[in-house]
């Protein structure tokens, strides 16, 4: 019994220490004297790795998800003679939910896992310690540009996802299934509010970007420096980040659209 209590206590203390460590890591990485001339090239490099290389998968999945939404929505809406509501259905589900959430999940799988593996391997091969030996703060040099790149690029990716998805829904709905083109766009425009839907979607994607990048960097930085440890850290990044996205999405949706 005492051992059981003790194990609970240890786990709670461990996870609290983990949260504290992650916060401390983030704080020391992003707070400090900005050095634009030094950090800008690093940031651009990471934007390429994190953002540009994720662009293809996000755009392709956005197109297909939009097309599937158009197809599925049409077959249900046509029963009620309401196929003109296809536009708002596609646009609202993409802007409010699917854009930020699916992009977040893809981003965790595509970019988050890569970040964790890269930093974990840097740790395993003692590159991080070497940086410290040379009086270069690895948090500022390695972690900070990756964090900013993730925070900037994921909202952009989510916007691309939504835009391409809406276009995919338009292609299927209007081009193939014969929903009137003018009605598709005009009903969509009257239903979508830029503040309620677009802005809230962007806020969601910024929150997800923050969480995913933070989790990925923390898991990599705290990885056990062995091959098994890096593999476990990478898996744990994807699982934790996906769960965090889905859980946060419910809370954010309840705050934004529940009232």
């Amino acid at each position: 019994m005492i051992q059981f209590l003790q194990s609970i206590g240890r786990q709670v203390l461990d996870s609290l220490a983990g949260i504290g460590y992650a916060l401390a890591m983030l704080m020391s990485a992003i707070i400090g004297k900005p050095q634009p001339s030094k950090s800008w090239p690093l940031f651009v490099k990471q934007m390429y790795v994190v953002g540009v290389l994720s662009m293809l998968i996000v755009i392709v999945s956005g197109l297909f998800i939009g097309m599937v939404l158009g197809l599925q929505g049409y077959t249900i809406l046509v029963d009620y003679g309401a196929e003109q509501s296809l536009g708002p259905m596609v646009a609202l589900s993409l802007l409010r939910e699917l854009g930020p959430v699916v992009t977040g999940l893809l981003f965790a799988g595509r970019a988050g896992s890569a970040l964790t593996a890269e930093i974990g391997l840097m740790k395993a091969t003692e590159q991080l310690s070497s940086l410290e030996m040379m009086a270069v703060d690895p948090l500022r040099r390695v972690v900070a540009p990756r964090f900013w790149a993730g925070l900037v690029s994921m909202p952009l990716l989510a916007l691309m996802f939504s835009a391409v998805g809406i276009y995919g829904g338009y292609l299927v709905g209007s081009g193939w299934l014969g929903v009137d083109e003018g009605a598709f766009w005009s009903v969509m425009q009257s239903a979508v509010d830029w503040q309620d839907d677009l802005l809230n979607g962007i806020i969601k994607s910024i929150v997800f970007a923050f969480v995913v990048t933070w989790i990925a960097l923390y898991k990599g930085y705290r990885a056990v420096p062995t091959s098994a440890g890096i593999s476990a850290a990478t898996t744990s990044t994807v699982v934790t980040a996906s769960l965090a996205i889905l859980g946060l999405d419910f809370i954010l949706t309840a705050i934004m659209f529940g009232g």
Partner: protein, 155 residues
């Protein structure tokens, strides 16, 4: 050379992302919303507001001029009181204007239809905080059926 290629791709990435934002903002969302910008507030009392909600539109002849901002019960008899903000662009409604709860389409959302009243020397214009007195309540299906059955019974 490698760095220039990277920079080029990052530039393309950012531009595509901003283009996506413009596409959504211009094509999918209505950029101009009457409630953004200057508004003034009007009140109205109804017997029954049906399923009118906060943020329901206020329309004049189908054109949205404002939105419902608050719904509450007021007075000793607990009458529903609707607060709405109307765009300053349309500030020349006379006191004789009528307001009714209407439904768009058979299954659509309910909205407030504002009908501008006649203008006369003795009639003032509605201003911020004024109350519209001439209102028509929402049609409630059960009440209609009840009236119909009652009138059948009289024959």
């Amino acid at each position: 050379m490698e760095s220039r290629k990277t920079q080029l791709w990052v530039g393309v990435f950012v531009v595509v992302g901003i283009l996506a934002l413009f596409f959504i903002a211009l094509r999918a969302a209505s950029g101009t919303m009457t409630t953004s910008g200057d508004t003034y507030t009007l009140y109205a009392k109804f017997d029954n507001i049906g399923s009118l909600k906060v943020r329901s539109p206020v329309k004049v002849g189908g054109v949205v001029v404002g939105r419902v901002t608050n719904i509450s019960l007021s007075g000793d008899y607990y009458e529903p009181r609707v607060e709405m903000s109307i765009s300053k662009e349309y500030d020349q409604f006379s006191e004789t204007s009528t307001l009714s709860v209407l439904t768009s389409g058979l299954l659509g959302e309910q909205y407030l239809g504002l009908e501008p009243g006649f203008i006369d020397d003795s009639v003032d214009m509605l201003e911020d905080g004024d109350m519209i007195t001439d209102t028509k309540s929402a049609l409630v299906l059960e009440n209609l059926i009840g009236q119909f059955l009652f009138s059948q019974g009289n024959d």
